[in-house]
Symmetry: C2
Subunit: 452 residues, 2 copies
């Protein structure tokens, strides 16, 4: 029932496409789920992809288009003229998908497509939806929905819903509105099925309904739908009039993108890339943070240079430079990751900054003492040098405490000023902790050895 | 329409609970959405939480329970006896939630609760669901669903659905089965609404339906529902008989947990903790990777020690130890993160390992040359030492290439042997690259200076 794409299948498709068309294979492809067809097209070379796309059934092609990777979709859209897009693709789409497709077009073609749409109502829906920012409720919502009036009977509801349903693929919820379209509540299929014929909608509908305004941010929508376990969320305008609905499948993408963005930031990747992207794009996404790391390394060299005398007198201090730098980095990444994830999930609670720092301090002390004790024993046994052992282990405790506190303060502070706290994780915090760690280490070394 | 929890509200609730009960505030709380009530209870002290929970309306208390954090829920469950759980909570729950609650109980209490359930059918449903692993389709599914037979008329469907709907909160999809309960397809509300009276289900239902077997893994289910944009997915047994359905809201949690697990692993946190957990738990989750880092630091010291002579002769080499270590770590984390995310999203495509490595090699060369050129210029200007400049910049290119390739190979290899590739990110790869980076740096330094 489920399709598993493999390399052999792709090669078979490719050879069919090259040596002209083998009807049976292409017939098979038309039978697949559009998401599977999209997966196949994503793997093909440009020309092959356009050929395969062009011979798909019209309705299937529409859904495939939505499921394609963005760069492959661009390619397909470039192969179609404005009229084809306007009158062969768009009429088969839900309004939210249609607007996403149109929004991706270059300005000139966007205008051409909109003016080529023959269904005036559809054109105006798209123009309307285009006016909302992509990452807002308005940008995520579709206009297609089923609504009933509070004074209708169950029979009238079914009759009207029949009319409305003709345009709609999936019915998620039945909305109840007043005569000005103000959202009043919802009517579940269950309530409708169990209703008696002489009842009215207002007797049976459910009044408590969560809705969002059209300009609400997509992150906020994701967190509402997640918290309240919603499958669909109605969108209202400033006068609480029902204007659309957002379904969870679109929000799953937002949730995933958010999590991936944090992960990529923590890994030092500055834009949303995946391994299929070009060498140029991958390099561009990775170089910025490497340059931050490079600058950090240079500053580290400056710090060590400052303590050239100490290092000249006690060259064995060089041995533990990587240890100090690595531990500061690791602790900083850990503590900042816990804060960033807490902020993303709204699970930080209402403790004050000082209480949070107090807790991080305790954790750092515990981890620091364990690590320090181990390194003290190691250095005594293998180097038999008490001064070095004390220097390294005292520095290590201090570095771990500093890195833990710093990793807590920075994301909280960024968040306070509405800067993405995920910026604080990964290379930035590692680099900062490297430098400060070296200061601490050589500072203590300087004091220790100057006391001799 | 939406509730925003703040510290003042919590304090108000707390003082009401302490100075005996203020009926009006508690009445207000009962009006809130259960997810909001759960958020309030999560923030209270143990005794207060139990008190507030005990005075909630029965049906609300049930939903609140499901929304609580796991440790708080345990606390509430401990405050209830087996009979209360069996006959006051469970009858108000969907079967998937009921089984989650029962599964969390200690063995003895679990048995007591099951034998205390008076509704025999409900007890057998729970026993049945308990037999599936928690992270399988069976563990995620609920038994409540609406099904119609292929030979029914629309009228008969509506009549039968009325009966079935009484037990069901939300109707997502109407399933079509044969007389042996074998899943045949789905019937949308739209199809039912548009059907003529003399048609039968078999004339109008939609045959293509994706389903999963009861033992399918939850990650696999998440990726199916995501790929095909499903809101609900039916579960069948080995004979393709319909036994339950999984809704997207439960799968959103799986998707989030997966993403968070990868993020935490990359950040060096070894178990699922958040900042509200105790100092002991936080320390325990963080210490293991710090010890790995510590071991790496010690091995780094061993490597440098090996090249003591070189370092003794050319102490200025110490300056760039942090730079070499940091850059190796950063590049390794970047390349492994791209692979781990690609594996998680099934977006790696079908390129062979060697083609992937070839691409990573190109990216590494480009990044390496840019960084190297910069460090060459810096070292020449500020240190005016050609040997050092050449050593550092050649070592840097090699370290970046090695780290990039290593970060690509390790997660791909782990995945091949069914080990979680996310293990390869974060501290592990950083530590490995630190050590190898030092080898490369001092190795080249040794060669360079011995040529003098």
């Amino acid at each position: 029932m489920q399709f598993e794409l493999n390399k052999e299948y792709i090669q078979e498709v490719q050879s069919c496409l090259r040596e002209n068309l083998d009807a049976s294979l292409l017939h098979d492809i038309n039978q697949l789920h559009p998401a599977d067809i999209a997966e196949i097209i994503d793997e093909l070379e440009n020309e092959e992809a356009i050929t395969l796309f062009s011979i798909l059934d019209e309705e299937i092609a529409t859904t495939v288009l939505i499921e394609l990777e963005e760069d492959v979709r661009q390619l397909m859209m470039n192969s179609l003229n404005a009229n084809e897009i306007a009158n062969r693709l768009i009429p088969n789409m839900d309004s939210d998908d249609a607007v996403d497709i149109v929004a991706e077009l270059p300005d000139k073609k966007k205008d051409d497509v909109i003016s080529a749409i023959t269904d005036v109502e559809q054109a105006s829906v798209i123009v309307d939806l285009l006016s909302y920012p992509e990452d807002s409720a308005g940008g995520l919502m579709a206009k297609e929905l089923i609504k009933v009036r509070r004074d209708w009977t169950p029979l009238k509801c079914v009759k009207e819903m029949r009319k409305q349903a003709e345009d709609i693929e999936n019915v998620y919820t039945i909305y109840v509105v007043d005569d000005r379209d103000k959202l009043l509540g919802t009517l579940s299929l269950k309530q409708l099925l169990l209703a008696k014929n002489d009842e009215k909608v207002e007797d049976i509908y459910y009044e408590d309904v969560l809705s969002v305004k059209a300009y609400e941010k997509s992150e906020e929508i994701a967190s509402i739908m997640e918290k309240y376990d919603l499958v669909v969320l109605p969108v209202v305008d400033e006068l609480d009039r029902l204007i659309g609905r957002i379904t969870i499948d679109d929000v799953v993408d937002v949730i995933k993108e958010e999590a991936e963005k944090d992960y990529q930031m923590a890994s030092g990747i500055s834009s949303n890339v995946d391994s299929a992207d070009s060498v140029r794009m991958l390099t561009k996404a990775r170089l910025p943070w490497l340059l931050v790391g490079l600058l950090g390394g240079i500053l580290g060299a400056v710090v060590i240079n400052q303590y050239e005398d100490t290092l000249g007198l006690y060259p064995e201090m060089a041995l533990f430079i990587p240890l100090i730098a690595a531990m500061g980095g690791n602790v900083g990444v850990q503590s900042s990751a816990i804060i960033v994830q807490g902020l993303a999930n709204n699970s930080l609670g209402f403790d004050s900054m000082s209480k949070k720092l107090g807790k991080e301090f305790m954790v750092a002390i515990l981890n620091g003492l364990v690590c320090s004790a181990l390194i003290l024993v190691y250095t005594m046994i293998y180097k038999d040098n008490l001064d070095l052992a004390v220097t390294v282990s005292v520095a290590l405790v201090l570095v771990i405490i500093f890195a833990g506190l710093f990793g807590t303060i920075v994301p909280l502070t960024l968040d306070k000023y509405n800067i993405d706290p995920a910026l604080a994780t990964g290379p930035f915090i590692t680099t900062m902790n490297d430098i400060v760690g070296l200061f601490i280490y050589f500072g203590i070394g300087h004091i220790m050895y100057s006391m001799l």
